[in-house]
């Protein structure tokens, strides 16, 4: 049981030191150390004040979930589950022992239980996260296991109760896509609220001949950073696409460490970031082709569009490739640009207002990544979220 009622993340972790459970995770956390402004993956996120802040430590109540159309998680507690889905609350969750992110271990050490979902047949799952508490530290982990030969889609959405602000949500997935299985994971994370911070630290293993499609859509004025460690086994196939529209003072980003471990493994990454106002975009993609990953291929591309006229918007893109084998195909690139004045003028010369012209061009930049989603209803939800983010951004010329 958590005894602490208020404190920083470290206070919470310290309080665990008196307990025996999950000391392992804590050891890993200590080895990596508390992230600061010099920690590579948090360099542009200003993590320091977030971790120094004292939060109310949420006590996770014991709730028996009701049956519903989708999985609903409120402040880290599962309140609703469809009957068709196998979901259990586990007390001794497994974790990866070589993650690069200290907060991955902090999340594991701070979460007493883990939400475990096992997918045994082809299914589409929606997971809706709702944050209702203010000034709270909410930590929870989800383990997702897609069994052999199974084809699953997980669609993740987020909601912030209007009065909830100042909270830190530290969550994350441990995902196993087993042999010959496929998982399409779509995250639609629209945060208009400026006051909650969300950190997601994930670990994903794509087994032999399995495929993972990671499609993320992060929009709005709230700050969030997602960190992924992804391991690809033989003939594993990863497609990851990341669309970000950050407004106001948001910092939004994806940090990925992708390891090609098996032969013939394949990864394609495409990121498009639209950064408005005084927001910051982070795309940090490290791809390692390990010694045993002969005949692998990887392609990575990130494009950013900075929209604010006064130079308030920033983009940090860091594509990196580390190669430890000789037979492979690899390419990467990144670019940062602005809206094209000639194109804006062309549209305006036909009577289209400057606001509408810019919107058309921004959508033209982004739309390709929305079209990857096969589900029409989800595309519409993503488009709506994109619109909301766009309309909330300041309309400075």
């Amino acid at each position: 049981m958590k005894t602490l009622s208020k404190g920083t993340l470290v206070d919470l972790l310290k309080s665990y030191r008196t307990e025996t459970r999950q000391t392992d995770a804590l050891e890993h956390f200590d080895t990596l150390g508390l992230p600061g402004n010099k920690t590579e993956q948090y360099r542009h996120f200003s993590i320091k004040p977030i971790l120094a802040k004292s939060y109310t430590i949420a006590n996770i109540p014991n709730v028996t979930p009701q049956s519903g159309e989708y999985i609903e998680i409120v402040d880290g507690v599962v309140v609703r589950v469809p009957d068709s889905i196998t979901l259990t609350i586990e007390t001794a969750p497994q974790f990866d022992d070589s993650h690069f992110d200290a907060l991955y271990y902090a999340g594991h050490a701070a979460s007493e239980t883990c939400i475990a979902i096992t997918v045994t047949n082809d299914v589409k799952i929606k997971i809706h996260h709702r944050i209702t508490q203010s000034e709270a530290l909410l930590t929870y982990r989800i383990a997702l296991n897609v069994e052999k030969n199974v084809h699953a889609q997980v669609y993740e959405t987020f909601e912030n109760s209007s009065q909830a602000e100042g909270s830190l949500v530290l969550y994350g997935y441990d995902i196993n896509v087993n042999a010959y299985a496929t998982l399409q994971w779509i995250r639609n994370q629209s945060i208009e609220d400026k006051h909650n911070v969300l950190l997601g630290s994930h670990q994903i293993t794509v087994a032999d001949n399995a495929a993972m499609k990671l499609r993320t859509y992060d929009f709005g004025a709230g700050s969030a950073l997602h960190l992924y460690k992804i391991d690809l086994q033989e003939h594993a196939d990863l497609q990851s696409t990341h669309l970000v529209y950050a407004t106001s003072h948001a910092a939004r980003g994806n940090v990925l460490h992708i390891s090609h471990r098996g032969r013939y493994s394949k990864s394609v990454q495409e990121a498009k970031y639209i950064i408005n106002d005084h927001a910051t975009g982070i795309f940090d993609g490290l791809i390692k082709i390990e010694h045993d990953a002969k005949f692998s291929s990887t392609r990575q591309n990130s494009k950013a569009m900075l929209l604010s006229a006064h130079g308030g918007a920033r983009m940090y893109a860091k594509p990196q490739l580390e190669i430890y084998t000789d037979e492979l195909e690899a390419s990467h690139g990144s670019s940062t640009g602005q809206l094209d004045e000639k194109q804006i003028f062309y549209l305006r010369s036909r009577g289209i207002s400057i606001i509408e012209a810019k919107k058309m061009l921004i959508l033209a930049f982004a739309h390709e990544l929305m079209e990857y989603v096969e589900d029409e209803i989800i595309i519409q939800e993503i488009e709506t979220a994109f619109d909301v983010a766009h309309n909330s951004a300041s309309k400075e010329k």
Partner: protein
């Protein structure tokens, strides 16, 4: 209908138009000819409010008012249209969606109801056929990968849909094959009316054979140096710009 008075304009600090005077009459077709680099495109850009062109003196009067302070989209909504010498490619923006947005902006400005996608496509079908454009052209990205001739036809398509009052065609005929030239000229003739004015910029007499200009103006070194009737074209064709006295 449109009066250009003693217009001085520069691009990138370089003086291009040097006291240009020109009056475009309602219902008439004006043609402008002139050597490369004399300022023809600069003049059209000044009329539509292009950001590159800085007007330093003089005025442009349209419907009785100066338009120099108006934004490009306002000028367009008021009925001023220019076909680009080099139409811009806009990857990712669907041509049909662009055309409909432009038309609806105009309709809104005129207090008319908006057209939905179905109504708009119906209207388009006839226009496309008349211009000899393939149907898939409007489902592609705007001008993206269009051939030179396809881009020009797309400009005429925009003109026909928007039904402007002052129509400036900047070298609409260059790079067109014989059929395209004919299709484009027919498009222009279709919307000719006593209420409209055309300013046709060209280097060749061929398009003028189709659209029959009322006036020919010669622009040289930032000024209109000669104005005459269609007979001027023949003289130019025969002798070149030396008929206006200066070598270019």
């Amino acid at each position: 209908m449109l009066e250009i008075k003693n217009l001085y304009a520069e691009i990138e600090g370089k003086s291009i138009l040097k006291g240009l005077n020109l009056t475009l009459e309602k219902g008439k077709v004006h043609a402008i000819m002139g050597p490369n680099g004399s300022g023809k495109s600069t003049l059209s850009k000044a009329i539509v409010g292009h950001y590159e062109v800085k007007v330093t003196d003089g005025d442009i009067i349209y419907k009785g008012n100066s338009i120099l302070e108006m934004e490009a989209d306002e000028r367009a909504l008021e009925g001023i249209f220019m076909s680009f010498q080099n139409p811009i490619e806009v990857p990712g923006v669907n041509n049909a969606y662009f055309l409909r947005t432009a038309l609806n902006a105009k309709r809104e400005h005129e207090g008319k109801t908006q057209l939905n996608a179905a109504e708009f496509l119906k209207l388009m079908r006839v226009q496309l056929e008349q211009l000899g454009m393939k149907k898939d052209m409007i489902q592609r990205s705007l001008n993206d990968g269009f051939s030179g001739g396809e881009k020009k036809r797309n400009e005429i398509l925009q003109m026909e849909i928007l039904q402007p009052s002052v129509i400036i065609l900047d070298e609409i005929d260059s790079g067109l094959d014989i059929d395209a030239l004919k299709a484009v000229a027919e498009g222009i003739n279709r919307i000719k009316s006593p209420e409209r004015t055309f300013l046709v910029i060209t280097h060749y007499s061929r398009i003028l054979d189709y659209i029959k200009p009322d006036y020919i103006h010669i622009l040289q070194d930032g000024q209109i140096v000669k104005t005459g009737g269609p007979e001027l074209v023949e003289a130019l064709e025969a002798e070149g710009y030396k008929i206006v006295g200066k070598e270019s």
